[in-house]
């Protein structure tokens, strides 16, 4: 029930490659992958000026609220959100109902192109996410916390 979401290096690299390709193909400024609970998984592109932790948390809150609205009217989910700004816009979509894909883009591109490229990237990401979930459910998966001692915990709070 409360098993952690684990991201391994292989899948991380694969997802980062897909996101970077998406960013370039869509001519977008930045791409973010976020866990549905609001944890940032990875970012690509220009985002130095952005508080990405807050972006992740707010996006997850946004998706959660939209999910709630969908269920309220009898829909399974609203899989795409689009926020249009004067300068930058956000295209937010769900991957395998587990992970949130955020594309930030300006007027160098169009929402149509972003949407098209997102669809292609999503197909690739779904496979990677599935392999991650399979690994996480495998009881052989080790947490780095398996061997932490009381002293390790105390040091954090000293």
């Amino acid at each position: 029930m409360n098993s952690p979401m684990v991201i391994y290096e292989d899948e991380f690299k694969q997802m980062a490659d897909v996101c970077e390709r998406l960013r370039m193909d869509a001519n977008a400024k930045a791409v973010f992958l976020i866990d549905k609970n609001g944890q940032l998984i990875l970012t690509t592109g220009k985002h130095e000026h952005l508080d990405t932790t807050a972006l992740a948390s707010l996006t997850a809150g946004n998706i959660a609220a939209t999910d709630g609205l969908a269920k309220l009217i009898g829909e399974r989910e609203f899989s795409i959100l689009f926020h249009e700004g004067e300068r930058d816009s956000l295209h937010i979509s769900l991957v395998a109902s587990q992970i949130i894909l955020v594309v930030m883009f300006g007027d160098e591109t169009s929402v149509g192109l972003v949407r098209l490229r997102v669809r292609k990237a999503t197909d690739e990401l779904v496979k990677i996410v599935q392999s991650l979930l399979d690994k996480t459910q495998n009881p052989g998966a080790n947490s780095p916390f398996a061997e932490i001692s009381d002293d390790d915990l105390d040091i954090l709070f000293s």
Binding site: M1, N2, S3, P4, M5, V6, I7, Y8, E9, F12, K13, D35, K36, N37, G38, Q39, I41, L42, D51, T53, A54, S57, L58, G61, A64, A65, D67, G68, N142, S143, P144, F145, A146, E147, I148, D152, L153, I155, L156, F157
Partner: protein, 195 residues
């Protein structure tokens, strides 16, 4: 549901502050934010109404340090306490690793505490969580006020299972970090067990 990223070597956990309206959940986070080293905290986000009542949630990311080479971070959330925001409370509990129940010690808020605790239990159950199996601590806030319920009565009504409990006066910080440390330690201990 904690989050472990082997690629960036970090581990993130989610702690939710729950309790009736105006019990001091946001004040807990504000105090933690004010007293934490700038290197160890991110921006605090408050989605509040114009009258400063929590509308959706407050959010505060905290970096605790490194365990076995993994950067350990806690994401603190509050829920909106007012009764009619129940749909939002349920959303915020998703993926929770640890819970702090902030009780308002004032006599006239006793019913509201009991109702909020019942609401916490049932909202968790809806998501498949059992409060008795989650890392969970209680904070009796506002102990400085004159009209407070005796501690023994609060303990009997709100903490029959004797989870760790703390007296607090959130605006002055009394009990705030003690509460946070206790729940954070329980979360990490649980992770160790769970692995």
């Amino acid at each position: 549901m904690s989050f472990i990223n082997y690629a960036s070597r970090e581990i993130n956990c989610k702690i939710v502050y729950y309790g009736p309206g105006l019990c001091g959940k946001t004040t807990n986070l504000q105090y933690i934010y004010a007293k934490t080293n700038p290197d160890a905290k991110g921006k605090m986000i408050s989605l509040a109404t114009e009258t400063d009542r929590t509308l959706f949630f407050d959010f505060l990311p905290l970096a605790l340090g490194t365990i076995r080479g993994f950067k350990t971070r806690f994401h603190l959330y509050t829920v909106p306490g007012q009764v009619f925001y129940d749909a939002s409370r349920k959303l915020i509990l998703k993926g929770v690793d640890g819970v702090v129940f902030v009780a308002d010690s004032q006599i006239d808020r006793l019913e509201a505490n009991i109702e909020s605790l019942d609401n916490l239990r049932s909202n968790l159950a809806e998501q498949g969580y059992d409060l008795d199996k989650l890392p969970y601590v209680i904070q009796y806030n506002k102990r400085d006020l004159p009209n407070v319920t005796p501690l023994e009565e609060l303990q009997e009504l709100l903490n029959p299972n004797k989870v760790p409990e703390f007296n607090a006066v959130a605006p002055t910080g009394e009990g705030v970090f003690e509460t946070l440390k206790a729940v954070a330690k329980l979360v990490l201990t649980e992770l160790r067990k769970g692995s």
